[in-house]
């Protein structure tokens, strides 16, 4: 039988923290891979409506986003009568250039996808504030339709089902 050792005389061995940084770096890379940076800074304020029958979009690289909402600053372009801005890429659009801007936006988004299959799958996601009137959405839909960009998505938050 071994004799009991005297307690209290020895210091606790120090924990090796050298591998800590490796673990954190692993975390970091993990997050960098599964997330993606917000690529454009949004210049409108919007709060999307909620819905229950939602589907996730398959690939984020095949999504082009159109934002609608109230402008964040007074310098942004608005559509008459001046409460709603539409943002494509990094700019809010002017009323007089509206049709041309949307056309260019669709063309450039299609151009960016080299694969023919990807061009077919390209989805235009409309992220709009829930208080926006349909007249603006209708304008966009009409432009998308005339430019043969038919796959669209109304971005919404999640809501639990309404009871009957």
């Amino acid at each position: 039988m071994a004799r009991f050792k005297k307690e209290g005389t020895k210091d606790l061995p120090e924990i090796n923290t050298g591998s800590m940084s490796d673990i954190i770096f692993m975390f970091l890379f993990f997050f960098m891979v599964i997330t993606n940076m917000r690529e454009s800074n949004v210049k409108v304020i919007f709060k999307t409506p909620n819905a229950s029958e939602i589907q996730k979009l398959e690939k984020k690289s095949l999504v082009a986003t159109i934002y609608l909402g109230t402008p964040k600053s007074k310098n942004e372009n608005t559509l008459p009568p001046g409460k709603v801005s539409i943002q494509l890429n990094d700019q809010t659009v002017k009323q007089e250039n509206f049709a041309k801007d949307v056309r260019d936006f669709i063309a450039s988004e299609k151009e960016a996808r080299t694969n023919e299959e990807d061009k077919q799958k390209l989805t235009f996601s409309i992220k709009a504030d829930k208080d926006v009137q349909m007249r603006y959405i209708n304008q966009i839909k009409e432009e998308l339709r005339t430019n043969n960009a038919l796959k669209i998505n109304y971005a919404t938050g999640k809501k639990t089902q309404m009871t009957q």
Partner: protein, 190 residues
């Protein structure tokens, strides 16, 4: 001098630095939150094609500038819309004022009476986007619930749990026909 050891670099702060980077990335990035109601717009055409549809096959849903829903001939609250749409599409008693059915041969399911019903949606220019999405959502829910029902009946599972091939069959059996009429403009711009 030559045999002096190089002092070890203190790596303790390394963890702090990488934590900092980690929090930075957590804040600036967004986890995939792209979700919503997918829709397909009708292809562009020079003139509106006027397809002759029998009156009984159309369920008209109108939303006015006050966000009130007018469906099936009366003003109804939102939470009744799904029920009404389901009743219309299903037509369990083959009522003469509800849509006709067209018996089609569908793979995996055999012959199935497919409803010819079309949900027609018309909104005002001043309808709020929120209401529009809600209505779209309720109509989608009606179709999804019918699909689940048929799916349970034929395959014993809900629609989401089926294989793609079986899902296609269900999609043929319970089609999603939403047509959007050009909007009207009675409200005032805001």
């Amino acid at each position: 001098m030559a045999n002096r050891k190089t002092p070890g670099i203190n790596t303790g702060s390394m963890a702090d630095i990488s934590f900092l980077l980690l929090t930075f990335f957590l804040l600036t990035s967004s986890i995939n939150t792209e979700q919503g109601i997918p829709r397909r717009l009708p292809p562009p055409s020079e003139k509106e094609v006027d397809v002759q549809v029998n009156q009984r096959n159309v369920f008209v849903v109108e939303v006015n500038f006050n966000d009130e829903i007018f469906a099936g001939g009366e003003i109804i609250p939102v939470n009744q819309l799904t029920y009404r749409a389901k009743e219309f599409l299903e037509n369990p008693l083959n009522a003469p004022n509800l849509p006709e059915k067209d018996t089609k041969l569908i793979e995996n399911m055999g012959e199935y009476p497919v409803s010819k019903g079309v949900l027609s949606l018309r909104n005002d220019q001043s309808t709020s986007y929120n209401m529009y999405v809600t209505v779209q959502n309720e109509l989608q829910r009606a179709v999804n619930e019918l699909r689940d029902k048929v799916s349970l009946q034929y395959f014993g599972k809900v629609y989401d749990k089926l294989d793609t091939a079986l899902q296609k069959s269900i999609q043929k059996a319970v089609p999603m026909n939403i047509s959007e009429a050009p909007p009207v403009n009675y409200g005032k711009a805001e």
